[in-house]
């Protein structure tokens, strides 16, 4: 349709987008439609796929496990955001500042991000084991809690491990952003007699606005996908204390053989992801969609 316009702008380049488009179509869009279709079927994973109207949806929506999983997902999202964001900003601002330490800290900070979630989960599971882990080895009772076996502690432990894994990453994002704030702004503020606190609140933080949105988007949308970590660490337990949406879907589909309801949960997962992304983008206040900052 606008081929002529494009040619004017410098040749037709649309074909270059084709491979990526087709690939994403085949393994992104088609499965997305597929999961919607499957949510209106009954399938045990090995037999025939039978269309069954809203049976799966009714089963899913009446399952008390669903609101619980939504709550767990929300809790993980909110808590991990609330813990990570202030700490990442503080650390990011700090390591942006000092040359000597910056290099050193940045190097070490990145390491947790190199580990797979499976490796991290296994490490912590061994470390926190009440019978064979660190606490029992050191004989310090305060450390020898039932970290993964008590509902509240297990959630706290999960948030801690998520933070352990990702704070370094977000700190580095903030570090980069802080370094791009023009020094002249601080100099001007100093001339006006603003103290360090004031500078932080009136210059650093506002300047980081878009980075905060980028980082928060990554955190929030990312938290929907904590599957490997929970799967290996607690398998959703104790009881159902850490059974987030993605895990509920996996258990329904691949353990209870209820692919229909599992697909319905997957659709909910997609909707939650989309709504969150849109809300966060609104918060960003940018109308120009192509400019979604950084990521």
């Amino acid at each position: 349709m606008t081929a002529a316009a494009q040619r004017v702008r410098g040749g037709n380049v649309a074909w270059m987008a084709l491979p990526a488009f087709l690939m994403f179509l085949a393994f992104g869009v088609v499965p997305l439609l597929g999961v919607l279709a499957l949510s209106f079927t009954t399938w045990n994973g090995i037999g025939e796929i039978v269309p069954s109207g809203t049976t799966s949806w009714r089963a899913t929506l009446s399952d008390p496990g669903l609101p619980h999983a939504l709550w767990v997902t929300f809790l993980i999202m909110a808590l991990s955001w609330a813990v990570q964001t202030p700490m990442s900003i503080l650390i990011g601002v700090f390591i942006a500042g000092r040359k000597r330490y910056r290099e050193f800290l940045a190097v070490l900070f990145f390491i947790p991000l190199l580990l797979s979630s499976a490796a991290i989960a296994i490490t912590y599971k061994s470390l926190l084991d009440p019978s064979f882990g660190l606490g029992s080895g050191l004989g310090i009772d305060a450390l020898n809690q039932d970290w993964l076996g008590n509902a509240t502690l297990a959630m706290a432990t999960l948030i801690f491990i998520v933070s352990w894994q990702f704070i370094p990453f977000h700190s580095l994002i903030y570090q980069g952003a802080v370094r791009q704030i023009p020094t002249s702004m601080y100099e001007a503020a100093q001339i006006d007699g603003a103290g360090r606190w004031k500078q932080f609140w009136s210059i650093t933080l506002p300047q980081l606005k878009y980075t905060i949105i980028t980082s928060s988007t990554l955190m929030v949308v990312g938290s929907l996908t904590f599957f490997d970590l929970i799967y290996v660490l607690t398998a959703g337990g104790p009881g159902d204390a850490t059974r987030a949406l993605a895990l509920l879907m996996y258990q329904q589909g691949f353990q209870a053989n209820l692919m229909g309801p599992a697909s319905a949960i997957a659709v909910i997962l997609v909707l939650v992801g989309l709504v969150l992304s849109l809300v966060l983008r609104r918060l960003g206040g940018r109308a120009d969609e192509s400019q979604l900052e950084g990521a």
């Binding site: 992104g28 499965p31 580990l115 064979f132 660190l134 700190s171």
Partner: protein, 275 residues
């Protein structure tokens, strides 16, 4: 700036305390991997091993570690390179053909894709892979990995290509270069930091991927590292030193790569995300 933030005690304290928090589990896992199992139960868990042993590493390697490692290499390389190339092409098209409504729609689709968690579509992906008769092959992991690397890659890369001054494109055009030529000779060198970011980010994600191999493969022959780790945990049971060794062994290659490409990675990362 360093001067201006000199008294940032709060940030400093947090940074150093957090460094300790980050390092203790890493330190623990490394020293434990060199302890004998008997020794592990009786010594202070944070004390270095008194009788250094490599037995745990031998155990892990004897358990087909090399095969799993190669599988992970194949999957990662096989997914990251095509993903980066086609994302780069798409990003270029999206920036250069900014007037096209078609490309705008494609870009919108990719942006939408950012919000779709891989987990949500795993059941249909599983079905598709079965229909393609690719179940239990490394290709089954590679194809969806490519697809799910595209949205973020296109976003980061297009942001970078957009920063290339319009005049440069103009002069390439004046010289009679095709779009294909411009892509490789102009855009490619200028967006190298972003490409590195994309390669590393996707590479890490795919190397460490768990769900796709879990659902789409079955045999030990096709097992990748993260899955192997989870199964080592079952095999080694409470032989925590052996588990520690398996974690260290699976991480060391990545840490080595990181040590080599660290500078570029960190600058690429901050450039890619911190814009």
């Amino acid at each position: 700036m360093a001067r201006l933030l000199r008294f940032n005690w709060l940030g400093g304290t947090f940074a150093w305390v957090w460094l300790l928090v980050v390092m203790i589990p890493l330190y623990w896992i490394v020293i434990t991997s060199f302890k004998t199992q008997a020794n592990y139960f009786v010594t202070n868990p944070l004390a270095p091993p008194t009788d250094l042993t490599f037995e745990n590493y031998k155990t892990v390697i004897d358990n087909d570690f090399v095969r799993y490692f190669l599988n992970s290499v194949v999957v990662t390389v096989g997914a990251v390179i095509p993903a980066t190339v086609i994302s780069f092409m798409a990003a270029y098209a999206i920036v250069r053909g900014a007037g096209s409504r078609l490309l705008k729609a494609v870009n919108g689709l990719f942006l939408l894709g950012l919000a779709i968690p891989l987990q949500a579509v795993i059941i249909p992906v599983y079905l598709i892979i079965i229909r393609l008769k690719m179940y239990d092959t490394l290709g089954a992991i590679i194809l969806p990995s490519i697809a799910f690397a595209i949205p973020l890659s296109v976003l980061v890369l297009s942001n970078f290509i957009r920063d290339v001054p319009k005049e440069l494109f103009e002069s390439m055009r004046m010289d009679g270069a095709s779009e294909w030529g411009t892509l490789w000779r102009l855009a490619f060198p200028l967006t190298r930091p972003a490409l590195v970011t994309v390669v590393i980010y996707n590479g890490l994600g795919i190397w460490n991927g768990f769900l796709l191999p879990l659902v789409l493969t079955q045999s030990p022959d096709q097992r990748t590292i993260p899955l192997a780790l989870a199964s080592f945990q079952g095999q080694f049971g409470v032989n925590i030193p052996a588990i520690a060794a398996s974690v260290v062994l699976t991480t060391v290659p990545i840490v080595l790569l990181y040590a080599i490409g660290r500078r570029q990675l960190l600058s690429g990362l901050t450039a890619g995300f911190g814009k």
